[in-house]
């Protein structure tokens, strides 16, 4: 018998993963699996990953344009003991995401970062990209996803603008592989237009983002000039989902599991319904609308509901020249995460109805608790290799005008 351990047991250097564990160690299995699947030679683009912007809030508030609010914020961050992020609303559900600490990377990434030449978030993003097998990663904020529900619409303008300028200055400028869809203060349409004008061409900005957790009708005439401007840029407009436990429709849901499962879908279902029935794809045929982080199972559900109802009541949606589902799988694009995989037949039909080969783009949502991996796309038995390559990166390269040359450093540790 071949006894490998004659020199003693080889204990793994990481016995328990914690908030202090290095991203590369947490994701060591992901890197190994990506190598085994040959992803080094595939262009892989992650359209939705996150950083925790509140860790850098002291820096971000220095980018607030309004000098009085900026002073107030800086003083608060400097002097208030245990200061929460100035001006930022949030949702209490954020406290539950790690399932009581069972999923440590959701609670915090307190790993050692010795590199001093770039911002810490650049280093963490690089570690994630090179562990997951990603060439380009689009980063979104986290607690700011709730900013559309802020009682002060001007605070969304101040904080959204500060975040955008900080991100461009400190993160996007440091690494060509990191990209952003800039935050639009959607509750104030003329400020959203100003954001497109001023920041739409900055390095690393490949599109625009509306955080979906808000009670503004996406079809209101106030937004038509904004959509025209975005359509003219050729860059996509993403609706990034989120939850909000104060939403009256979720008032009876007492488990975070249930609220999260519904909330992340509900906001985009409402916006999509308004988007389609008000004929936005007819009015802006070249506007690329992207629906982010709602998973995929909702799409065939909504297609069936809207198609059935539309045939009975076409006079209520007179701008439509096609079935709602045809707009949803021609004019709209989707990101994968959190991809529902427990019912494989349903997933196969879902991807077929979405026309995944051209409309779907991979997203990880790293470092959140329900993050996905590129290997999940590789392992789907019903997709052709070309479809897998498209979903993992080539669709994103086409839609976002990215160079599809693999540049990642996917090497075994």
């Amino acid at each position: 018998m071949n006894i490998q351990g004659r020199i003693g047991p080889q204990y793994s250097p990481i016995q328990e993963i914690s908030v202090h564990t290095d991203t590369r160690d947490i994701l060591a299995h992901a890197r190994r699996n990506a190598i085994r699947r040959g992803l080094q030679d595939w262009f892989v683009c992650d359209i939705d990953a996150h950083h925790v912007e509140t860790v850098s809030w002291k820096e971000i508030v220095t980018y607030i344009e309004d000098p009085v609010v900026r002073d107030n914020a800086m003083r608060f961050q400097a002097e208030r003991l245990g200061a929460p992020p100035y001006g930022l609303n949030g949702d209490l559900g954020l406290r539950y995401q790690s399932v009581g600490g069972r999923i440590p990377h959701q609670d915090g990434q307190r790993e050692i970062v010795e590199e001093t030449g770039v911002h810490r978030d650049v280093t963490l993003t690089r570690r994630a990209m090179d562990s997951l097998g990603i060439d380009n990663m689009v980063v979104f904020p986290t607690p700011m996803l709730f900013l559309g529900m802020h009682p002060q619409p001007e605070m969304e303008v101040w904080l959204g603008g500060a975040y955008n300028r900080w991100l461009i200055d400190r993160i996007l400028s440091e690494d060509e592989r990191i990209k952003s869809l800039v935050y639009l203060p959607f509750n104030t349409p003329n400020e959203a237009e100003r954001t497109v004008e001023e920041l739409g061409d900055k390095k690393g900005v490949i599109g625009f983002c509306v955080t979906s957790t808000r009670h503004k009708p996406v079809h209101h005439n106030d937004y038509m000039r904004l959509y025209s401007m975005i359509e003219a840029t050729g860059k996509p407009l993403a609706f990034h989902a989120g939850y909000h436990w104060q939403d009256p429709s979720l008032a009876t849901v007492n488990r975070f599991l249930g609220m999260h499962a519904l909330g992340f879908v509900w906001c985009n279902m409402v916006h999509m319904t308004n988007w389609i029935l008000n004929g936005i794809p007819e009015r802006f045929p070249k506007l690329k609308a992207l629906w982010v982080e709602s998973g995929l199972a909702w799409v065939p559900f909504l297609m069936q509901r809207l198609d059935d109802q539309y045939l009975m009541r076409p006079s209520e949606a007179p701008q439509l020249k096609r079935m709602p589902s045809e707009y949803m799988n021609h004019n709209c694009f989707y990101t994968t995460q959190p991809m529902e995989t427990t019912h494989p037949k349903a997933l196969e039909i879902t991807l077929e109805m979405i026309r995944a080969e051209t409309q779907l783009m991979f997203s990880s949502d790293w470092p959140h608790y329900d993050f996905d991996l590129p290997q999940e796309i590789c392992d789907l038995p019903f997709l052709t290799e070309q479809a897998k390559r498209n979903i993992l990166g080539l669709n994103a390269a086409r839609i976002f005008n990215l160079d599809p040359t693999p540049v990642k450093k996917l090497i075994a540790s």
Partner: protein, 121 residues
């Protein structure tokens, strides 16, 4: 089949876990209620490092005679390992997922000789 040392029996207190590098593979050895259990360090969900997760007692929610519930509790007889990637929870004794026994960990063979534990992969 290669065999790897996992240390001495006396290296393990009750409730301990040691993750062993076994060439290309990793195995988690657990001592629970005086017994040893060994599982491959690959979650059934996404091949995450399940054995490097938190060890926690299973959560239960007792139902009273009148079918009401008041609180959650830990089940002292059931110890789970929680995959740190996505939170899949498995019984360390059975390897079954708490909510679906068809989702299970892959067992690793261990033998104990002269007070030393060996893993076969």
């Amino acid at each position: 089949m290669p065999e790897f040392s996992a240390g001495k029996v006396t290296d393990y207190a009750d409730g301990d876990r040691k993750v062993i590098d076994c060439g290309e593979q990793e195995v988690g050895i657990f001592k629970i209620d005086g017994e040893f259990f060994a599982w491959h360090n690959r979650c059934a969900h996404r091949a995450g490092p399940v054995c490097q997760g938190r060890i926690m007692k299973r959560v239960i929610e007792p139902v009273a005679d009148d079918r009401t519930i008041r609180r959650q509790e830990y089940d002292p007889s059931e110890t789970n390992i929680v995959c740190p990637w996505h939170g899949y929870e498995y019984s360390i004794k059975t390897g079954f997922h708490q909510g679906n026994s068809r989702v299970r960990l892959r067992k690793a063979d261990i033998t104990i000789r002269e007070g030393e534990i060996y893993v076969r992969t």
